[in-house]
Amino acid sequence: MAFEYVKKDTPLDRMSPLVKLLLMFLALILVVQCTSIEHISILLIWISFASLWWLVGKIELSSLGFLLKLLSMLFVFLFLVQGLTYRFGDSTVILQLFDLPWPDEHGNVMVNYGEITIGGIMYGLLVMLRVIAVVTVVPIFTMTSPMTKISGALAKIRVPQKIIFMFITAMRFVPLVQESMDAIIEAQKIRGFDIDAANMYQKLRRAYVPIITPLLLLMFRRAMDLEVAINARAFGAREDRTNVEDLSFKARDYVGTIIVVGFFSFMMYLMYFEPTSITWVSLSIIVSTMLTIVSSFLVTIGLDVILQDLNQFLLGLPVLDWTGGFLNQNLLLGYGAIVGLLLILFIIYKLIRRITKKKKRVKR
């Protein structure tokens, strides 16, 4: 499971969870304030600061794997939506996906929502970085602090016992749900119910009933049993519950707090006292240079002609025509074709994967 504590004995391990909680809290405050493209640099610095903590805490990047996979979908979506709709900043069009001019009240076409602009991409980048800035600090808290310490620390800042217990139980139930789910899927498989073999439509229509129903029933039963178990062990008997973990603030905790607070103040200083538009300008230069290099590279190896031909070919297909000019643009040399090509490659790759995957046969 991602985010689960594993004992590693690093300085972060030994640090009080309160310091890490503070880091998380400050990350949130910072992100809330970063609302314009100029703040990209601030977010980048903050993220590199967070990755330093990762290094110190010896947290594996792979633990974020699942989350990043999930987020990458979000990021692509963000880039597309922001690129197409954000109409401030640099309005250089880098790619026209389709043609959707939007007239204002006077009938003048000011914006075309089929175009992706540099400003839009930059804004997408900003939103993405804001998400990353928060996501990267969460494992610093959860993966280096054992539950006992977290609960102790929360008790110390006078969070009520019941809320702490709810939090811990939630953390305990997450892997439990996962395990039960796997066990249930296996149990239904041996009754000839093969969810992997069902197609998407079948899955959505009925396949989850045999899995979700027992899972819910099981979890209710678990919750009931847990109530018995905590009552049997005197939970809530005394207000002054003993904390077994030693939670007194040590030198390293003070150092940690100073670093966190110091760095945050530095960020604030950069944000409000230093003009950061330089960063924005330099970033847009980098983006345009990269685009130029790519297109000149395409021209040199003669791919541009092929792409244009492909573009024409794709446009010739009657089915693709209805997209309202999805590939119909001559701007910046057939980017539509690039997208189309990538799409085709992806489909071919998927097909090859499916064919080469060992096909299971039915038993006689």
């Binding site: 039960s180 066990a183 498989k189 939970f235 038993k363």
Partner: protein
């Protein structure tokens, strides 16, 4: 020994809200330092009784109550549960669901910390409890990194750290292997003797109860059927049998001998009743044999029914590694052939790879190395759905698979997955309902049934698939004496129809009685494989796998010098060998 710390239950009658009568006029008394064994079939009211004593009733569950309870001078109905909890600690049946925190150490701290015990004292108690229960060194483990047996030990240790005056244990050894069970019972005995704890324990393992308890209470349908010293209670073998409790095998043997051999009854009365433990039984028989009161006439036990030479399951050199942060090798080069019509038992400790191996048969796991073949076909090439036609696995926990609105629908589910015609489905449902004895429950929502009945539903669902091979995963878990035999008897009847049965278990009594062949696994390796009577004689193998042959086998081994030529597995086999002496 003060009057104050006695548990006293007086005429308690209890009915659950919207539920059945659970206890009916139950009365008993336990003195300080005593161990009370509570016996009874599933649904007899054992757990309800335990819940009464630590205040779970009425705090969590409510109902109508008559009678009075006094516990360490407190009335559980008047005292808040949290105040009671400092005097009385209870270890629940299911070790999984009572894990309240995220690792072993914090689990041990949880109870005393709630009571605001001082920090140093908590640490001292936790270290002591971990040592006593044999889990020291596991403090950093998470629940999922523990085996079922280890979890059960943690649960016990967590109860101990509260340092209660009264300790209530609800089936504390249901998931432990035989050696582990004996260890835990020894710990319990020691606590009663040295710490002067009063212990109430429910269990199906009567041989251990007979060995340790100072008093035994037998419940049936919420009523007290017998109460007294183990000697008195276990002497009533017929009564116990009728309420679904099986006395220790040696006691049953002596009782049956008393009926068969004239004069033995009087003899027994003179030496002080039926023997309860293996040693008692052995020394009694030895004395009587030496004296010539008995004589042994070797009677060959019935041979295992013949089976065909056709191999239905074949495992060749299978190695399996669970992928994880630290990969775990669960199977190491397993070779196994199972013939059609056999009953094979795979035995071994928790975590020895039994279930992993079985999952390979079904194609749920794919071997890292090696080949698994079902009826000659390589499992890795088959869809799981089609393997389900020839193999059925009856899971330990039926709750993972039951979801339908009625028992009948539940059975139909698998058959529909196989795509059978409607009339065939109806026929098979009818047949398997009958086979499992569930005809009266066909319209009930499975979740309302007792655990034992839910298992039967799961078993019926498996049988309805009409498999060639039936696999029982731990038929004993949370099952009483009758329940576990019911499942095995279904399996035996299936075998008579030419099916192959594979059983995973660490209940040696059951394995000895029903299996033909034993496969012993330790840490992913098969260390012994052969006919059961032979395997039970391999003492080294047994020790290595933390197994203990059942009482009758141990007795027959001890009596080898008197003409018992082979390991005998059932009471009746043993009984057939004894004749009155002096002829």
């Amino acid at each position: 020994m003060t009057e104050y710390s006695t548990a006293k239950v007086n005429n308690v009658t209890f009915t659950y809200e919207r539920g059945p009568l659970a206890l009916h006029e139950v009365s008993f008394e336990v003195k300080k330092g005593e161990i009370l064994g509570i016996l009874g079939a599933n649904g007899a009211g054992k757990t309800t009784l335990c819940f009464h004593l630590n205040g779970i009733i009425p705090t969590v569950y409510t109902g109508v109550e008559k009678g009075s309870i006094s516990l360490c001078g407190l009335d559980p109905w008047e005292t808040p549960i949290i105040q009671l909890a400092s005097k009385v600690s209870m270890v629940l049946q299911d070790p999984e669901s009572q894990f309240t925190t995220t690792n072993v150490a914090s689990e041990l701290f949880f109870g005393p910390a709630n009571l605001a015990v001082e920090r140093d004292e908590i640490l001292r108690r936790a270290a002591w409890a971990a040592k006593v229960c044999g889990i020291d060194g596991l403090e950093e483990r998470k629940p999922k990194e523990l085996s079922g047996g280890q979890k059960q030990r943690v649960a016990l240790a967590a109860g101990l750290t509260m340092l209660p005056e009264v300790l209530i244990l609800d089936e504390p050894t249901s998931q432990l292997d035989p050696i582990g069970t004996t260890e835990v019972f020894d710990v319990i005995k020691q606590l009663a003797n040295t710490e002067d704890m009063t212990i109430l324990i429910t269990s199906h393992k009567t041989d251990e109860i007979a060995r340790l308890a100072s008093k035994v209470l037998v419940l049936s349908d919420g009523r007290v059927m017998a109460l007294g010293t183990p000697k008195d209670v276990f002497a009533q073998t017929e009564l116990l049998d009728s309420v679904g409790v099986n006395p220790p095998a040696v006691t049953v043997l002596a009782a049956k001998m008393a009926k068969k051999i004239p004069g033995f009854q009087e003899r027994l009365e003179r030496i002080g009743g039926l023997p309860l433990t293996l040693d008692e039984s052995y020394s009694m028989l030895k004395e009587l044999l030496d004296e010539g009161f008995f004589q042994v006439e070797w009677t060959e036990p019935l041979p295992a029914p013949p089976m065909s030479d056709e191999t239905v399951l074949e495992v060749e050199n299978v190695t399996f590694v669970y992928p994880a942060r630290i990969p775990v090798t669960a199977l190491r080069g397993i070779n196994l052939k199972i013939k059609r019509g056999e009953i094979v038992a795979i035995v071994g400790q928790n975590g020895s790879g039994k279930t992993t191996l079985v999952k390979h048969f079904l194609g749920l796991l794919e071997a890292t190395e090696g080949v698994t073949k079902v009826e000659g076909e390589d499992v890795s090439e088959l869809t799981t759905g089609s393997i389900a036609k020839s193999i059925a696995l009856i899971l330990q926990n039926p709750d993972y698979q039951l979801f339908c609105i009625s028992v009948e629908k539940e059975l139909e589910f698998g058959l529909r997955n196989l795509g059978l015609p409607e009339d065939e489905i109806a026929r098979r449902v009818e047949e398997s309902l009958k086979e499992a004895g569930l005809e009266d429950m066909r319209d009930i929502f499975p979740f309302r049934l007792s655990f034992g009945d839910r298992r039967k539903v799961a078993a019926a669902a498996g049988i309805a698939m009409d498999p060639d091979i039936l696999i029982l995963d731990e038929p004993t878990t949370a099952q009483d004496y009758q329940g576990r035999h019911a499942l095995c008897q279904i399996a035996t009847r299936m075998r008579e129809k030419g099916k192959t049965i594979v059983m995973i278990s660490h209940d040696m009594d059951l394995v000895a009685q029903y299996a033909d062949r034993l496969v012993v696994m330790v840490e992913g390796i098969i260390i012994a494989d052969g006919p059961k009577r032979e395997v039970f004689s391999m003492h080294e193998v047994m020790d290595k796998a933390f197994l203990k042959p059942p009482q009758i086998i141990q007795l027959s081994q001890k009596l080898e010098g008197y003409g018992i030529e082979k390991n005998l597995v059932t009471v009746d086999e043993m009984l057939a060998c004894f004749k009155a002496g002096g002829a």
